[in-house]
């Protein structure tokens, strides 16, 4: 008897709760914010790659207000941990998840398979599926402009390049700089130093100093800390910033920065998910889309050089200038791209060879 009463009470409560939640969810569903997740490989405080992605996330929040709720996880190692983090985001109701480093590719693919309703976007990768898109910035466009400016600003004809890892993205950008040198100052030599790290201020500064000891007077970098910029400032040389604006670290040294602006992409993709028009694709965005930006030029750059640089930017935007326009030879002098043709994105995406003019072997 008592037991039955208790059971009745329980079912009553359960029904009440069920009804309540049904009513609630029916009402709220329309206004519930879209949850967007971001996975970063570095700290958002790196003032480089991850910092820029986080600026994009903040832009999404600003643009959509309380229609979105964003979550980010920083300092995620590329490996088993990444899979756990991505799955956690998918499980906790995030409908759109950006994974922002090359090494997150396989974990993202795996989790995307398990959560077919969640949309995933992986930066700089090449694996696609129905609910997994990729996106990448054409940094080589900015790098080409930087290469041109460097070719005009060097007095010693020695230009330094601090490189991280020999992956296509980095090799492509080195080649873009060499293409600019080949065209605008063939006497300039490009010295490349691999530091095997994306982020190690001490080592980047050491590399910059080692280069300057050997006569380099303009430094470019494909690593994320502003340490090389500072080192150049201290010794009265020039440097080009990477990923985010580094002018405050070398007011005199800073020629320009090539910046990844992810905000337009993140806002557009979030909008698509809201509209239900999101589709998986491999997105490649450059200066024309506003994804690659050069916000300012140093006043020390002569007017004709900065005018020509602006001309190059305009040309890249409207398609009349392509950094990888033929004829292009490889290091052995073999013709890879004939005159009148350009390297396609499919070829650039996998680029694992140096163009003619680059000294040294590509590390394996």
């Amino acid at each position: 008897m008592k037991r039955r009463q208790f059971n009745k009470l329980l079912t009553g409560i359960a029904a009440g709760i069920g009804l309540g939640t049904a009513l609630l969810s029916g009402q709220v569903a329309a206004e519930e914010p879209l949850k967007v997740g971001f996975v970063y490989v570095g700290p958002i405080g790196d003032h480089g790659w991850s910092y820029q992605h986080d600026q994009g996330r903040l832009a999404v929040e600003k643009h959509f207000g309380d229609k979105v709720k964003t979550t980010y996880v920083e300092n995620v190692p590329e490996g088993a941990d990444a899979e756990r983090v991505i799955r956690n985001l998918a499980q906790s109701g995030h409908e759109l998840i950006f994974t922002t480093s090359f090494g997150f590719m396989n974990p993202t693919v795996k989790v995307a398979k398990q959560y077919p309703k969640v949309k995933f976007e992986h930066a700089t990768g090449y694996k696609l599926s129905k609910n997994l898109a990729t996106y990448i910035g054409k940094t080589y466009e900015g790098r080409y402009v930087a290469g041109y400016v460097a070719s005009q600003m060097t007095k010693s004809n020695k230009i330094g390049y601090i490189a991280s890892f020999p992956i296509p993205e980095v090799v492509r950008d080195i080649n873009a700089v060499q293409m600019a040198l080949n065209k605008y100052n063939p006497d300039a030599e490009l010295k490349i130093i691999w530091v095997n790290s994306w982020f190690d201020p001490g080592k980047e500064a050491d590399a910059a100093n080692a280069m300057m000891d050997q006569g380099v007077d303009v430094i470019l970098q494909h690593t994320d800390s502003p340490a090389a910029m500072q080192a150049a400032e201290r010794r009265g040389k020039f440097a080009v910033g990477q990923a985010s604006d580094m002018s405050s670290f070398g007011p005199k040294a800073h020629l320009l920065s090539v910046i990844d602006d992810w905000a337009p992409h993140y806002i557009a993709e979030t909008q698509k998910v809201m509209d239900g028009s999101w589709e998986s694709s491999a997105m490649v965005e450059g200066m024309a889309e506003g994804a690659i930006v050069i916000p300012s030029f140093n006043e020390a750059i002569p007017a004709d050089v900065s005018a020509k640089a602006q001309e190059l930017i305009a040309g890249i935007k409207d398609g009349t200038v392509h950094p990888f326009a033929g004829p292009i030879n490889n290091q052995a002098g073999e013709l890879k791209v004939a005159e009148g043709e350009v390297l396609s994105w499919e070829e650039l995406e996998k680029m694992n060879w140096y163009v003619e003019g680059v000294n040294g072997e590509l590390p394996k």
Partner: protein, 308 residues
């Protein structure tokens, strides 16, 4: 031209080796007293962030360095309280200190990323810095590097000629015997731990105020761990710590220099040199079990209870 390049390499070697030397000297004193503090990386980062923020806000580099040292000491006291006061496992406590320091430093520094300061500039001594080859390396550095030379000699003298040095060694070898003859075991260990913290804090300040005057999360990039390996590499001998720090410094810049010169040599391989060297030394040292045991402080890592 070539001698210039060589002199630049030696200069960079000492600069790169300085944070390692500072941390390793501190850890050496700490380990000599029988305490293994694996929290170097955490203390280093705390020193770096506090030093940078203090220098930025006060506009004074000296205040930056002083607070960096203070931050290192506070962190080491936390370690001391847990590992010495409550006799917790030193390895676990040290690891926790590193994780804690990494996180806390990121938290404190998050507002200060991307802010530049005018760092500590080198101060070349007239005449002396003009000596060919070694002049730049020894006499054209900044004040912290000169201080590291002085601290090296101080620690060397401390263990070689001072009574207090003997007390530290006795406490590290056999705390019970030391206690029995009336030596203050706990107090000695606390001081040794605090010295280690001060040195790590100073090294952190050196990184964020002099070496690369900026704050970025995790900017120590494993130097605390290299310094720990360095103490083993030096087989707990002060003079070998100096040698090792500069050698490790050289190993970490040499591959950069070689690449710039166009030698094709695997930079990955060269970057592993410090660690490979440490393993090699460990193997060499442990060939002779008796000798190996004599090198490390016998009570290293063991908690001490006065009445047990």
């Amino acid at each position: 031209m070539d001698i210039d390049l060589l002199s630049n390499i030696l200069y960079a070697m000492v600069r790169t080796g300085t944070p390692l030397l500072l941390v390793a000297l501190g850890e050496l004193v700490c380990e000599k007293s029988g305490v293994l503090n694996l929290g170097q990386e955490g203390m280093l980062l705390m020193g770096a962030v506090v030093g940078f923020v203090a220098a930025l806000l006060s506009g004074s580099l000296i205040i930056g360095f002083l607070l960096a040292i203070l931050a290192g000491v506070s962190m080491s006291l936390l370690f001391g309280l847990i590992a010495l006061g409550f006799s917790a496992n030193q390895v676990a406590t040290g690891l926790a200190l590193t994780i804690f320091g990494t996180g806390l430093s990121a938290f404190i520094g998050s507002e200060f990323v991307g802010k530049p300061i005018d760092g500590l500039d080198p101060f070349a001594l007239p005449l002396l810095s003009e000596i060919p080859l070694i002049g730049k390396m020894l006499f054209a550095q900044d004040l912290v590097v000169y201080l590291s030379f002085a601290l090296f000699f101080a620690v060397y003298w401390f263990f070689r000629s001072s009574r207090a040095g003997l007390v530290v060694k006795a406490v590290g070898e056999n705390p019970h015997a030391a206690n029995a003859i009336g030596l203050p075991v706990m107090r000695t260990r606390y001081f040794a731990v605090m010295f280690g913290g001060a040195m790590a804090g100073l090294a952190g300040g050196y990184l964020s105020i002099a070496y690369t005057p900026l704050w970025a999360e995790n900017m120590s990039a494993g130097r605390g761990w290299i310094a720990l390996a360095l103490v083993v590499f030096a087989s707990w001998k002060v003079e070998r710590v100096l040698l090792g720090a500069w050698l490790f410094g050289l190993a970490s810049i040499l591959h950069l220099v070689f690449q710039g010169l166009g030698f094709s040599i695997s930079s990955n391989l060269l970057a592993t040199l410090p660690y490979a060297a440490t393993i090699l030394v460990l193997v060499l040292l442990s060939r002779n079990q008796v000798r190996a045991r004599l090198l490390a402080p016998i009570s290293l890592g063991k908690p001490f209870h006065a009445n047990s």
